[in-house]
Each structure stands twice: as C-alpha cells, then as structure tokens.
C-alpha cells in the first residue's frame, strides 16, 4: 500500500498545526517523521489515522482519494495507529485485551482467539503470556500487545507515535526487530519520533516537520547534522557539564534500606557534596525512584539514616522536607506533577503556600508572567497546563520550583523532550548546581547519564553499586553494569 498525503492543513483556534503538508510513504518502508515538540507530527498522524479531519487537503491510498472519518474507518482502509499511551484495560488479561475491539460479535471463541494470538506473536517475534494480567506488563509489553491487536485487525500501515519513550533499551530492540519484520512482509511503518538515534537506526527514509510545515526529506544513510538543522532551523550542540562540586557534604545516607512491596534494596551508603549531580542508572523499576521517594520523604526507609546538611531527616515527612529545600519532580508530569484543569497562573497561586485567606491573583499573575518569560514556556498565565505540549509542561513544572533548593530530584527530567529542550533543561539544572543544589536524577538514556552527572549509582537486581565517577566510565561499561555484570 502506498500512502500519499496531499497538501494537508489543520488549524486549532489560532494555532496552525499543519500547513500544506505533503509526503509519501512507499509500500514496505519504515518512514520516519521527525520534528521537535509541537512541530505538528502528532496532528498529522491523527489525521492519517482518522482521529482528526483536515481543514483542507486529501489522503490517497494507492492513488485513490479516501475519506477517513473515524479511527475505525482508517482501520477498514488498512491504517492503524499505536498510541503514546496504550488504550487498554489493566484489570483484564492480555488475551481479553487482545479480543477487545477486535471482535465484533457477541460470542467469541476463546480457542480461536488464543490460536490467532499465538500465531501473530510467533510471526512477529513477540513474547507475551496470554493469561497474564495486563497490569503486570511493562509499557513496552503493552505496546507490543497493541501492535499485535492492530495486526490482527488487518492493517497494512502502522503508525507509531514516539514508541520508544518510556521503554527499556532491550524492549526497544525487540520493537525494532518486529518493525523490520513487518516491513519485510510488505507493510509500511510510519515512525514518529524526535530521537535522531532511533530514526537513524530504524528508518529507510524520513521527513522532517517544523512549525507545522514539511521542511525536508532524506533517505538512509542520514546526515545527522543536516537533520538537526532541519528540525531546529539551526545547528545545536550540547554543552559540556562543568563540574561544580563543592566540598561541604550536603546529603548523606547511612545504611539506608529502601523497600517497596516488590523490592528491597541492599543498604545504601552515600555522601553527596554541594552542587553535585548524581545520576541513578538502571533498568526501570530497579529502585531508582524508590530512593528518590525516600529522600523526598514520600516513602519511609526500612532502616538506616538520612542526613541533610548534617541534620537527621530520616523520619521527616514530605512537607517538612519541602520546607528544608527538598523538591521532587516526578516523571509523569500530568499525573503527579501538574494539575490538569488548572491554569499556569493558578499553579503559581497554589504554590504560594502563604497563610492568606484570599488568593493574591495579582502576585500570582506577576510571578507566572515572569517565569513564563524566564523559562520560555509557550503559553500565557491563562493557559491550562494540559493544553501545553510535553516540553512546555516540563518547563512549566521546572518554573514552579523554588529558586533556592538544597536537594532537587528529577525522575526522567527530559523524557519526551526534543533535543533543544533537553539541552535547555540541563542548562537550567547545571545553573542550580553552581548555586550549591544537589541533584539526583534518573534516566534510561546512557548519554544523558554520562554527560550530565558527576557520579553514577547503578541499580541492578536489588543491588546498588558504589558511586562511580562518570568521567571514568564508558557507555559500554555502564550498559554492562545495568545488565548486572560486575566490572
């Protein structure tokens, strides 16, 4: 199947999400769609998969114009989209989720479904247990299930929107392998991403969007500098992390035992000096977040001591630690960080914490304007946070942090951000280090870990390594350590 997108335009209010976009996806190719956050990639893909209707322009399949009025319509025409957040039912089993939406009749034969499920899994190298409860699956596995479900409904063109966000390196490799098999079988894959590496590794051709326009087209092998320039309209280079460690010990853990319902980590001993950046490396769910939650007072340690500036804060609660200058920025911005439905101004008013009866809207407005300006958030004080793009949500979240912090913890601070935003975020964080703030952060991106931290803690299988100076470790060595190989 050959898909042609012809002069598609789409406007939301004053925002022109797509302007005259035309591009072609050949049969059996993996086509990358690149662009920074807010470039119009997702809008274009929603149009292609029937979730949105364009203001003008048309879509042709094998040369024939089609009208895609709904996602179901698109699937009938052989186009299916894999969402950033899989739409599934966590309480049901894998097989039940597989049959949902797939099956039209009232009765369904479990045996036939199971057979179909196994066949598809084998064919595309997917390993899923049909009777597992969905809530036990990782994000990557849920993605694979969604993929299998789309394939079962007979689609020939699969759209993936930022599929590598939130999954581990291994899962990413499994996904890429599956996608390559699909293209070998003659299906087309549209791979939407802002990650150059992924597009480079997977795609045979790529289109770049910027500010809603189609600005360039390229085939493999790619010229990365050229792609970056197309994406951002300028060349971008990452700054080198200036080591800013002071000499005073700011944070100290003594025999700290961190536990959750599923996991108990070995005791952690750690001394962190002012201005130091500690990267927490490891597969997701290896306990990095638990450690941060303990340091933030959200979770109680099972044993051991935690000292902040020499003071025992082992049993201090979250709000108490907040008062000491501790802040925690969760990974799921819209679930834990920001309040959907409130405007930026209301967020600043909420954060004011002052024991005033009435809200001081004027000062909230002033503060919101100043921070919006300072953090280059694309929005106004009136903008509700859910209307911001992912990168701007992260900027808004950072802009809400108090200026003078002693300890700042960030879970995946650059997840879902484009390169430009990622660099900008780290500039902000390093600026804080220079003023003496200790930073703990997690990432699954080895480059980000090595480039930005002074020392690394590697979490693997319930063990936590001694701190490793990031200057003394290569990416490969780090990869082995994460995989549980002791060096």
């Amino acid at each position: 199947m050959r898909i042609q997108i012809e002069r598609i335009s789409k406007t939301f209010g004053n925002v022109r999400a797509n302007v005259d976009v035309s591009l072609t996806i050949e049969e059996g190719t993996i086509h990358g769609v690149l662009g920074e956050n807010g470039a119009g990639k997702t809008t274009l893909m929603k149009i292609l998969s029937g979730y949105l209707q364009p203001d003008s322009g048309e879509i042709l399949i094998d040369g024939h114009p089609v009208s895609l009025d709904s996602p179901a319509d698109a699937i009938v025409h052989g186009i299916g989209m894999l969402h950033q957040d899989p739409l599934d039912v966590p309480a049901l089993s894998v097989l039940d989720n597989f049959s949902l939406g797939l099956h039209k009749g009232f009765w369904h034969s479990k045996r036939r479904l199971r057979h179909q499920f196994y066949t598809l899994c084998r064919r595309f190298g997917v390993r899923l247990q049909p009777d597992e409860r969905l809530s036990n699956l990782t994000v990557g596995e849920r993605q694979q299930l969604e993929l299998v479900r789309l394939l079962a409904s007979g689609v020939r063109v699969i759209i993936l929107d930022e599929p590598t966000t939130g999954i581990s390196e291994q899962q990413k490799q499994v996904l890429f392998e599956t996608l390559r098999r699909l293209s070998e079988e003659g299906m087309s894959v549209v791979f939407v991403s802002h990650k150059l590496d992924d597009v480079d590794a997977l795609c045979s051709s790529a289109s770049v969007l910027r500010s809603g326009r189609h600005v360039g087209e390229m085939s493999a092998p790619f010229d990365r500098d050229r792609l970056v320039e197309l994406m951002f309209g300028r060349a971008v280079s990452a700054p080198v992390h200036p080591c800013s460690c002071g000499t005073r010990i700011a944070l100290e853990a003594r025999g700290l035992v961190v536990t959750s319902r599923l996991l108990e980590l070995e005791p952690i001993d750690l001394s962190v000096c002012e201005g130091e950046v500690i990267g927490l490396a490891g597969l997701e769910g290896s306990g990095q977040r638990l450690l941060m939650e303990v340091c933030a007072g959200i979770r109680k340690p099972k044993a051991g001591k935690l000292l902040l500036d020499g003071k025992d804060v082992t049993h201090a609660g979250y709000r108490e630690l907040q008062a000491f200058g501790v802040a925690y920025v969760p990974a799921s911005r819209m679930e834990e960080g920001l309040v959907r439905g409130l405007s930026i101004r209301e967020h600043f008013a909420l954060g004011a914490h002052e024991r005033h009866l009435m809200v001081d809207w004027d000062s909230a407005e002033t503060k919101a304007r100043a921070q919006i300006e300072r953090f280059s958030v694309v929005g106004t004080p009136d903008t509700r946070v859910e209307e911001l793009s992912g990168g701007n949500q992260q900027r808004a979240l950072l802009s809400l942090l108090p200026d003078d912090l002693r300890l700042l913890m960030l879970d995946h601070p650059t997840r879902g951000l484009d390169l430009g935003s990622e660099i900008w975020v780290w500039e902000q964080l390093h600026e804080r280090c220079r003023r003496g703030t200790v930073i703990l952060f997690t990432s699954t991106d080895l480059d980000e870990l090595v480039d930005n931290s002074d020392r690394l803690l590697v979490f693997s299988g319930g063990q936590v390594s001694n701190p490793v100076a990031s200057a003394e470790v290569t990416r490969e060595e780090l990869g082995y350590m994460i995989g549980g190989v002791n060096l």
């Binding site: 709000r319 834990e336 439905g341 008013a349 954060g351 002052e354 009866l357 809200v359």
Partner: protein, 344 residues
C-alpha cells in the same frame, strides 16, 4: 464572552429544559390529561400568591444550604452522598438542644443554629475519618452514615423524644415558640433562615473563586497526587471540606426543624440531601447557577401538589420534570463534549 459562547451556554440550559417539558407532556398525554392545563396548574400553584412565593422561598432554604455544602465537596473531588445524613445530624443536634434546655429566643435561636452547624460538621468529620483513615470510599461511607442517621432519628422519635400521648410518625411534640425562626408577616417564610441560606451560598461562591482554600480544594479535586506533591496536605483539606459541607447541610437540617416543621419528624430532610446532588449537577458545579436551579426545583415542588387537587394527577409528575431536566442536561452536555472532542 462572544455572542456564540453565550448562545451555546444558553442552549445548554434551554435545550434540556425543553426536552424535559416534552417528556412530561408525553407522560401527561399518556395519562389522558391536558398538558397545558397541567403546566398551568404547576405554575399557578407555585406563584399565585405571596404565601406561595414564601413557600418557595422556604423550600429553597434547605436545598440552597445542602447544595452550597456539596459545591465544596464536589470541588475537592468528593461525591459526598452523605449530605442527607449531615442534614439529619444537624436536625438531631438542634432537637437535642431544644429537648434539653429552655431559654428566651435571643439565646435559643443562635444556639439552635450553632447546634445544627456542629451536628452536621461532626457527621461530616465522621465520614472524613472513614474516608481518610478507614480507606472507605466517601460514597459508601456517606450512604452508610445516612442509614445510621435515619435509624437514629427514628429511634429518638419513637423512643426518648416521643410525645407524651404516644409515639408517632408525625414526630416529636412541637418546639416551644422561642425556637421558631422569626417569620415575615403572616407568611411561612422566615427572613432569618432565608438570610442564612443566601449568605451561605454567597460565601461558598467567594471561597471557591477567590480564596487560597478554594484553590487548594480545586487542585485536590483535579489531581490529588500532584496537589500533594506541591505541598498540599490533602487529607486535612478533604476532612475540612467534608466538615464545611456538613456544617452547611447541618444548618439546613436544623432550619427544617426550627423554621419549617417546628419539630423533629422522621423524614426531616425532605430528601433535600439527595435533591442537592441533582441541583449541583444541573448547575454544572458553579455556585452562581445554584440559586436559579434551586428556584426551579422549589417552584416545581410547591406548584405540583395542585396537579392532584385539580386534576387527580400524581404530584410526583413534578419529580419527573425535575429528574428529566437533570438527565437531559447531562445528556446534552455529554453530546456537546463529544462533538467538541471530534472537532479538536
């Protein structure tokens, strides 16, 4: 606001109302009666005299107070179905006061108000404890507490507080005149009760729009986890919200005894706690619309008994009208949002 926005908002109010009228018309026709005569009787029954207007005003009092309370808990994301029990608790506390002490009106009236507020607040706190520390969903906690309240009321009326001549469904003996809320002229309307209700809804409006607490509640309602991360003590504010709601609802229940029935009767709340849920839904959780919706509900309530007197139609047709307006509002709102989502 553009003209288009205004039209859309009006449509949101007018269309459900029109649909509800159509539904009721169909039902009335099916019963073999004349719908125009029926609606005429409801409107006439509600507004033919000042005495009727006074009745409407008094029917508004408990509904306004319960709805005002619910706005607070709804803002905090709580479905406080326990309003009914909180009203009962206010009525019980007031009756307890009246049964225990005597005094001049200047003492008894303020005390009766305080007792109602305290009783409702206490009931709200109990639900809050169940929710925050017991891990019981507030809907079930509230429902359970409603049953407890209603059983307790019946026990007290048929037991310790029964009239001298024998216990009856009609309730306790009438309160002494010192605990009757002062009336306007010869009507049944009490200016003090009305004033309290109006002040309550106004205060809630201001709380939710302009106070730090209102903003905190809104944040908790929209995203408790994020609010907590921002340093809000969510548990404390959930308790406070339930307590404030209970206080207002309790005042409503208290006024049912001191301004309307002048005694405690088994169904002292008059179902206003449940009706308030519909009011708040129909007002789209916005305080400024609550008085209008309450006025509509109260008018139907006061006007519909005449359906029986004149036309031998069951006055619960009024309830059908009230209920279907809410249903159609939710329906129209849902359809609108769905259409809106498609166009985004």
């Amino acid at each position: 606001m553009t003209v288009r926005d205004l039209a859309r908002k009006l449509g949101l109010g007018v269309i459900p109302f029109a649909l509800a009228v159509v539904t009721s018309t169909v039902i009335i026709l099916a019963l073999g009666a004349n719908p125009i005569e029926a609606f005429g009787n409801v409107i006439g029954g509600a507004y033919e005299s000042w005495a009727k207007v006074a009745d409407i005003a008094m029917a508004m009092v408990p509904l306004l107070l319960a709805s005002a309370g619910m706005l607070i808990t709804f803002a905090a994301g709580l479905w406080n179905i326990g309003v009914e029990g909180q009203m009962l608790a206010g009525a019980l506390m007031t009756t307890w006061l009246v049964e225990s002490i005597e005094g001049p009106a200047a003492v008894m009236l303020p005390l009766s108000v305080l007792a109602g507020v305290a009783g409702g607040a206490l009931w709200g706190v109990l639900i809050g404890l169940l929710r925050v520390y017991g891990g019981v969903n507030e809907i079930f906690a509230g429902l359970g507490m409603n049953f407890v309240g209603s059983a307790l009321t019946n026990y007290l009326i048929f037991g310790p507080w029964k009239p001298e001549r024998g216990a009856t469904m009609s309730g306790t003996d009438p309160f002494p005149l010192e605990v009757w809320m002062p009336m306007i002229g010869h009507t049944r309307a009490s200016w003090l009760a009305l004033l309290l209700a109006i002040v309550a809804i106004a205060v809630v409006f201001i709380i939710l729009r302009d106070t730090q607490w209102g903003l905190v509640l809104k944040a908790i309602g929209l995203n408790p986890v994020a609010a907590n991360r921002m340093g809000v003590n969510t548990n404390r504010h959930l308790m406070l919200a339930l307590m404030a709601c209970g206080a207002l609802a309790g005042l409503g229940g208290s006024l049912q005894t001191t301004a309307i029935y002048h005694r405690l009767i088994p169904q002292i709340t008059g179902g206003n706690g449940y009706l308030a849920q519909l009011v708040v839904l129909l007002s789209g959780l916005r305080a400024q619309w609550v008085p209008l919706v309450v006025l509509f509900f109260a008018s139907v309530q006061v006007g519909s008994p005449r359906l029986e007197l004149r036309m031998q139609l069951d006055s619960s047709l009024g309830g059908v009208l009230q209920g279907s307006v809410v249903l159609f509002y939710l329906l129209v709102n849902g359809v609108r949002q769905r259409l809106g989502a498609r166009n985004r």
